[in-house]
Amino acid sequence: MMDAGRHSRVSLMTLSEVEEITGYVGNFHVKVRRKARYVDSGKCTACGECVNVCPVLRPDEYQSGLSTRKAIHIPFAQAVPSSYILNMDDCLGNNPIACGKCAEVCEKDCIDFNDQDRIEEFDVGAVVVAIGMDVFDAREVPEYGYGRYQNVIDSMEFERLICAGGPTGGHFVRPSDRSRPVRIGFVQCVGSRSRVHGAEYCSNICCMNTVKDTLLLGEHYPDTESKVFYTDIRAFGKGFEEMYNRSREEGVKYIRGLPGEIEEDPATGNLLVHVENTLTGELEEHEFDLVVLSVGVRPPKDRDRIQKLLTLSKTPSGFLMESHPKLMPVDAPTRGVYIAGCVEAPKDVKESVCQAGTAAARAGNLLSAGEVTIEAYTCRIDAEICNNCGQCAKVCPYHAISFVKGAKTPPTVVEAACAGCGTCGSECRFGAITMRHFTDQQIEAQIDAMLAVDPMDQIFTFACNWCSYAGGDMAGISRLQHPASGRLIRTMCSGRVDESWVLRAFRKGAPMVLLSGCHFADCHYIDANRQTVKRVLRLWDKLEKLGIRPERLQLEWISAAEGQKFAKVFQVLEEHRLRVTKEEIEQTVKVLEEEHLKKLAREAKQAAKRAEKTAEATA
């Protein structure tokens, strides 16, 4: 941080909040709120005179509330810039000035009670999101007594207590009576790997953090008796297993099983831990002077705001999702945006540093190239046909279509931001959007050609490029048996599949239609496949209204690795296909032909109206 603060080409904006990001790769426009500091950091020499006279005491957030700070303070010793900050929420007041003692003693005259928030705007070419993480609040597990028993602390508080720069100067004491604890219990997986409390995922860092803590305690106080209650110790990194073995060799007891309950002895403040040792199958009781809860990692609170600002997607566990877990692990789905650190997934310092370096290098590559190569399959809006409804802009997951409501000008596509999912194309009711290389005419020609011969023998399938089509490939290369009746049309995203294509396939005699795409968490176009679901729900209603069994249209999410699911889906759908009779198909074709003719008549009328309007305008 200090290096970044000193670097001539790095502008460090502390105490600032990103309010708005607009634009696209290479051309982002950022609006940042620089919050009022009330202290001129250019003049402040951090002499500390102001702190000495400040009468307000508040719990120190950096020290996990284990010590206090003044209203005017430095957040932590290594903070950059090294200058004081006046927290106006804690100060006795500046309008009118209620105390003002800090300003009176400041020789450099750097305290300004009239300081205001400022908005700064600037352009950047790439954005790296590294907003970190939060930790699990152990109060959510009431049986462990965190928040009720003073001597139950979490791993963050442990770090402060053992740290030389902490509230006790590194002297490890327990909070209730400030005596040195000798018997210390560590409880793992608090808020991790649980379906009841917290989250199901592993927080990745807690096991080794505890191993490190036990070694640290042993080093500082050799008579400490540490016991660790764990589900399993995940020591997978370089040197981790050796470190774990060293901890065991130094006498730390590892007991497999998580405590069911922790009780406090009110007289002594000691804690009684009830646990089932899953290796021996016996119920055990252990008494400790202090218990440390190893709390898990949570996605940061600000994640949703950043996700919205940059049109990012998140995993089911709430962390930001990368473009590809192996090939593009630091690229966000939005071009020109990169992710680093725990906002992507829980990870330790080494991994975070590694990922941050990669993200910076990726951003550097992008900027040094000076130009961006975009895919050929972007969308194009025909201004003459467009009705300015704005639906395309509404459904675009990348906000690549700019549309001003009521402006009477057609939306415009920012091609550098368009990823080519095609959702806009299938949502446009007026046919004003052309998806290059996946045009309506091209797909319709494929439908017609495939269903020209023996349509009754086919399970007509629309598969997305990234997952379902690749899942079919996986089924093939895995030599999995599935019926030969499947006929696939590939689109970039299932969101590209137009309602009219499904109806066209039924009109051409298809007994079954399958629409297949990525699982929700895997969607390669952020959340474009949610539009697929909405469309399929509409189609089921429509089919039912027309007297066609909705069951004949199926929806499946198949990932690239799910070759087995692909084969199974086709095996089951083959049974469905065989149950569709010739009479049923003929009836479907008849109904849909009538509907089609009505639609053509409507379109002809609209075209005539448009031509009339154009002629009037020309005249």
Binding site: V533, P550, L553, Q554
Partner: protein, 50 residues
Amino acid sequence: MSVATKFKCLRCGHEFDGHYDPKAPLVEWTCPLPECKSNSIRPMKEKKRE
């Protein structure tokens, strides 16, 4: 606001109860039957239930 809704699997025909809010972000629906696990899940409207 999510309301209690009956869902129907359009592959195996299994009907089950759940919650659905058309205005909330969609979630991936899956048939709860282990032998089916289809994603062709349709929230049934009130009139269709009768």
